[in-house]
Symmetry: C4
Subunit: 211 residues, 4 copies
């Protein structure tokens, strides 16, 4: 068996790691909606009571949209990392698992923040969750650069720009966590701005895949 064959056989293929990641993102993004529960009205003016109950769900709608778009952003980012990966060894698989573990918490922390949008604890926990995901994500980027796992033709410069951009996420979630102690309303505002910022970057510089 030639050296090359050994590599092919022992090295991980990316396909299934991508399939698992896409499946987890798809399920996470879908079950976010389970935080919106249909109100049960058994007596009185159904239409009037339903309106009132649905209005109380507005914060849940806001956090649903917010987390959906954040997940969309980091999924597009993950997409980029994986496309340029030349090898996906065991360590890469485990960094990806840690990343997905953090992503898996998002339906819970989103539902928590949706129920208590201006509460310190809820705001703190959401911030910690997203900060954790952002850190692992950036670690992944950095690790791939350091270990030279990427396609030769991808310019390091290109990747460094992306790294810088995604570091903004770490900074903003860190500030959000700090504000949760004094003013959770500002934290919520920062959490809402994040996906809008990335979306704007992604759609304005339309031809650029990495952002």
């Amino acid at each position: 068996m030639a050296e090359e064959d050994v590599h092919t056989i022992r090295g991980f293929t990316k396909d299934r790691a991508e399939a698992l990641t896409d499946g987890i993102f798809a399920t996470v993004m879908t079950i976010l909606i389970l935080s919106l529960v249909v109100p049960v009205i058994t007596s009185g003016n159904v239409d009037q009571m339903l309106s009132a109950d649905l209005i109380s769900l507005v914060p849940n709608v806001v956090t649903y949209v917010m987390s959906f778009l954040v997940l969309g952003t980091i999924w597009i980012g993950h997409n980029n990392i994986f496309r340029y990966l030349e090898r996906a060894e065991s360590k890469v698989q485990w960094i990806n698992m840690a990343f997905l573990l953090g992503v898996g918490f998002i339906p819970f922390t989103t539902a928590l923040l949706g129920r208590y949008p201006f509460d310190h604890i809820a705001s703190l926990i959401y911030g910690i969750n997203l900060l954790g995901v952002a850190i692992v994500y950036n670690f992944f980027f950095g690790y791939a650069l350091m270990e030279k796992l990427l396609h030769r033709e991808v310019q390091v410069k290109f990747f460094k720009t992306a790294l810088k951009r995604s570091s903004v996420g770490i900074l903003v979630y860190l500030i959000g966590i700090i504000f949760s102690f004094v003013n959770p309303e500002i934290s919520l505002g920062l959490y809402i701005i994040m996906p809008i910022y990335y979306m704007a970057l992604g759609t304005i510089s339309g031809k650029e895949a990495i952002h």
Copy 2:
């Protein structure tokens, strides 16, 4: 690095966007059924009480089937758009995200309409959800045409027909929304007719992929 390579490396591949979309559709179509809750009967004639409770679930069954088929219709449509896409740049990814965000609301609005099938508010919200999805879907079609993102050999005429057909959806959901204010029963009827109409189009003109 040649100009072409840059394009290949920077341009998005469609595969993973399709995988995420299929995953979200699959999960959404499956969790629709969670609006059907098994009745809990603790005393009395189980068989008789179960019958009564299950009969009260009939509207939920109707809205489940209706939304499942609507999702089937728009999934087939999405299939068509993506098959002909030559490039899937960042903007396309974000239009797709907005589309999936709307799709993600359907389990909630379906459960709401299933519980209150003849209520104004429930009917209005379901209509707005589906109208939103239809608008983003048509915008996607139009954007792809305008930006010439499609495979050269796909006739514009072909696509325009599809665009016209899917515009019917926008019109019908708009009418459904209006009727929700005066006669939610008519809205429900319109919502039920929609997937049947598209299914008929799709199965009668069996050889035509786009509809």
Copy 3:
């Protein structure tokens, strides 16, 4: 544009229909487990009460395993149909949708039967659900044969055997439905036997892919 190109462009690719189907089966098979709810014990001897509560969940475990294996069986069958399909036109897509719609009901009817395993209504509804799925499945097989959608090298004889075998399902679920009116225990027994029968066929004649 050559005639062949038109066909390629207009004809459906099977890939995404398979992806959607796999996604729906995966989600359905997973959310089956949601019918098993962790008991809440707030006072008394936790260990003793937990045992009692878990024993009452045994019928749910049985119906979970039963439906999981039935879904496994029909997924393997679907696998076979699609592998031999040469074209997947619009009509095929819609037959597949009807099939998936029936599959989507299984988590509900399974949870219902798990809660009321010996009840007439629960037994009847489970039987109707599975009968419906079996009928659409066989219709799919028959349609593919009739319309000559299959790979030339697949012998008709081969397919007819498979068709005969899967017709057993229709017969057994029909008998199960009839027995639900007089003796739901026998229905349950028949429902349990079905996946075991197919599993035995599949593992005994190990080299034969279709069963």
Copy 4:
């Protein structure tokens, strides 16, 4: 039809079995989080009560992380088996189904252990679930070796090492089950150590794909 063609047509392709497996793992890993329920606080000091309620969820967080990483470990292992499979006949499909059936129980047994982390019954059931999955997994490995279903170039030695390593799982879960009768705290400790052990193996010997 040549002998070879028969083989190709009758033999299973691996692609869809991998797709179903990835879909089930993705959904199972995601719905694990549903055992974390957002506390409902209607009166009193929200912040204080929320802290108390969230602290009571810590065992659920621990079991969530533990099961997520166990699932990650066995998914990577499954990945390895399937990559080297040359044929995936009907028997292989059914062994895979049995494997997935066991995996499908994990959200329930994890939620049970999360609620009653130091209880004998909960600890016993979790242990039995994971032991079952480990046994089927090893049986799969052994079966593939015995029936020579693997790619010629994969050294038997290589596989035997992997087999030995995964046997550690069987042993540890067996010990965990025994301890659940006398000291469930030790069982929990063992259950927590398992994924950490495999993760360490996977990341220390970073270039080795099988572990």
